[in-house]
C-alpha cells in the first residue's frame, strides 16, 4: 500500500477534526455495543481498507468509473471483510456448467476413477495398484 505522507497526514487531520466535532454526542454504535468514538488510527485503517478494495476491484476488471460508488455503499465492516477475504469469498454466478465444461468434467472424473482402479473406461489408463 503506497500512500504518500502528505495524503496520510491529510486523512489524519480530517479524521481528528470530525472526531472533535462529534465528541459530545453518543453515536448509535455506542448503544449497539460497538466502539463509541473510533480512534483516528481505526479510521485510518478503515480508509486504507477501502483503498485496498478499490485497488483489487480495478485488478479484477471492475469499471473504474463505478468503483467509488460501489465501495461507498459498503459499511466499514463490509469493506474490511472484502479487503481481507476477497480471494476466498464465494461469487454467485449464474446458470450451471456449459455442455463442453460438463463433458470435460466427466472425462476427468472417469480418468481419475480409472487411475484409482474403480472404473475401466479408457484403454489408455492403468490402475495405480496394478
Amino acid at each position: 500500500m503506497k500512500v504518500s505522507k502528505l495524503v496520510l497526514s491529510f486523512l489524519l487531520s480530517v479524521s481528528l477534526f470530525t472526531q472533535v466535532l462529534s465528541a459530545q454526542i453518543a453515536s448509535t454504535d455506542s448503544i449497539l455495543g460497538q466502539s463509541v468514538s473510533e480512534s483516528s488510527k481505526d479510521k485510518l485503517v478503515q480508509m486504507i481498507s477501502r483503498e485496498d478494495v478499490s485497488k483489487r476491484f480495478q485488478e479484477l476488471g471492475v469499471d473504474s468509473k463505478i468503483i467509488e460508488a460501489r465501495v461507498a455503499s459498503m459499511t466499514d465492516e463490509e469493506a474490511s471483510k472484502i479487503a481481507y477475504h476477497i480471494d476466498t469469498l464465494p461469487a454467485g454466478a449464474d446458470a450451471g456448467m456449459s455442455i463442453i465444461g460438463a463433458i470435460v468434467f466427466v472425462f476427468i472424473v472417469l480418468l481419475i476413477t480409472d487411475i484409482v482402479g474403480v472404473t475401466k473406461v479408457f484403454s489408455f489408463t492403468k490402475p495405480i495398484n496394478n
Partner: protein, 303 residues
C-alpha cells in the same frame, strides 16, 4: 465411493411440520450470464414495486455494474447486500433455518438464497429468489436460472442450500418488517442503511420497527440520532425524551438531550440532566466530560 454418495437427498423438514403452501407473484427476469445477483435483486425489487409504494432507485443496468466482478465471473454476497441497499431496500440477513425461511414465505416476503449447485470441491455458486413452497409436492419454488417458479424437491434444495451455510437475505422496502426479525438484528440492518448514506430510508425503517417494538430503547436512540444527524433537532429532542420516559437514567439519551438543550440556550436544564448520569463505561464517561466542557464553554448553536 462416488456412486454410493449419490443417494437421493433426504427431506430435511420434520415429519410433522405444518408448513403450508405459498406462492408469491415475483416478476421473472431472464437470466444473463454472470449476473444472477443483479437479476435476483431486480426480481425482488419489482415485486415490491408492484405491491407497495416503493420505487427502486437503480435501473437493472446500474445494478449490473454495481455487482459484477468480471475476473470472478460473479457477485460477492456483500456486494449483493450493498447494491440492494443502494436500490433503497433494507437487507435483513435470514437466520439459517427452514423455520425462518418459511415464516418469511408465509408473509409473502421473497428470500434470495445462495446455493452451491455442485460440490464444495467444484463450487458452482448461484443466487436465486424463492417464490413459494408446494406442501403437497414438497417442492421449493424458485426463479432458478431460465425457469420461472421451478419446483425443486425440498431434499435437493436443502443439499444445495446447506453448502452455502444456508445463506439468505430478505430484501424489503424500509416500511416493511421481516417476519423473522429480532429487534437488535433489524436495528443493525436499518443502521447499515444510515451508515451508507440512506438516512431517509433508515428513519422509515426505525419508525416501522417501533410499530412492532414500541419500547425498544436502542431503536428509539438510533431514530433520535438519525434525526439529530439530519438536522431535525426538535424531532430528535422528542425521541430522546421518549427514551427517558421509559428509562429515566439512560446515559445515552441524557447526554444527547443535554447537548441539544445546551445548543438551544437551555444550559441549566442540560447540566441537571448530566448530573443524573451514572455510568461505568469509560468511553461514555469521556463523552459526558466533553459535553460538560462544552456547556461550560457555551455551546455552539445549531447552524
Amino acid at each position: 465411493m462416488i456412486i454410493s454418495s449419490g443417494c437421493a437427498p433426504k427431506n430435511p423438514l420434520p415429519a410433522n411440520n405444518n408448513y403450508s403452501s405459498y406462492k408469491i407473484d415475483v416478476p421473472f427476469v431472464s437470466p444473463r450470464s454472470e449476473l444472477c445477483a443483479s437479476t435476483s435483486i431486480e426480481m425482488v425489487s419489482s415485486y415490491w414495486k408492484s405491491i407497495t409504494a416503493y420505487s427502486p432507485l437503480l435501473t437493472l443496468a446500474e445494478l449490473d455494474e454495481r455487482t459484477l466482478i468480471p475476473a470472478k465471473g460473479g457477485t460477492l454476497q456483500i456486494e449483493l447486500i450493498a447494491a440492494a441497499r443502494a436500490d433503497g431496500l433494507l437487507v435483513y440477513p435470514l437466520e439459517a433455518t427452514f423455520d425462518a425461511l418459511f415464516s418469511e414465505l408465509s408473509e409473502h416476503h421473497p428470500v434470495i438464497v445462495l446455493l452451491n449447485r455442485s460440490y464444495s470441491w467444484y463450487p458452482l455458486w448461484h443466487y436465486a429468489p424463492i417464490t413459494g413452497y408446494d406442501a403437497k409436492a414438497q417442492t421449493i419454488l424458485m426463479h432458478f436460472a431460465d425457469t420461472p417458479n421451478e419446483a425443486v424437491p425440498i431434499g435437493t434444495f436443502a443439499a444445495l442450500w446447506e453448502r452455502s451455510g444456508n445463506w439468505g437475505v430478505v430484501l424489503l422496502p424500509p416500511g416493511q418488517l421481516p417476519a423473522s426479525a429480532t429487534p437488535e438484528k433489524f436495528l443493525r440492518s436499518a443502521y447499515d442503511l444510515e451508515k451508507t448514506g440512506m438516512t431517509n430510508e433508515a428513519i422509515i425503517a426505525y419508525k416501522s420497527a417501533l410499530t412492532r417494538w414500541s419500547d425498544d430503547i436502542p431503536t428509539l436512540f438510533a431514530l433520535g440520532n438519525a434525526y439529530y444527524n439530519s438536522h431535525q433537532i426538535s424531532s430528535a429532542e422528542r425521541v430522546y425524551r421518549e427514551i427517558l420516559l421509559i428509562d429515566f437514567k439512560n446515559p445515552f439519551a441524557l447526554n444527547n438531550l443535554a447537548d441539544i438543550l445546551c445548543r438551544t440556550g437551555r444550559s441549566d436544564e442540560a447540566l441537571k440532566l448530566l448530573e443524573q448520569i451514572e455510568t461505568d463505561d469509560i468511553q461514555m464517561q469521556s463523552i459526558i466530560k466533553a459535553t460538560r466542557e462544552e456547556i461550560d464553554k457555551g455551546c455552539a448553536p445549531f447552524q
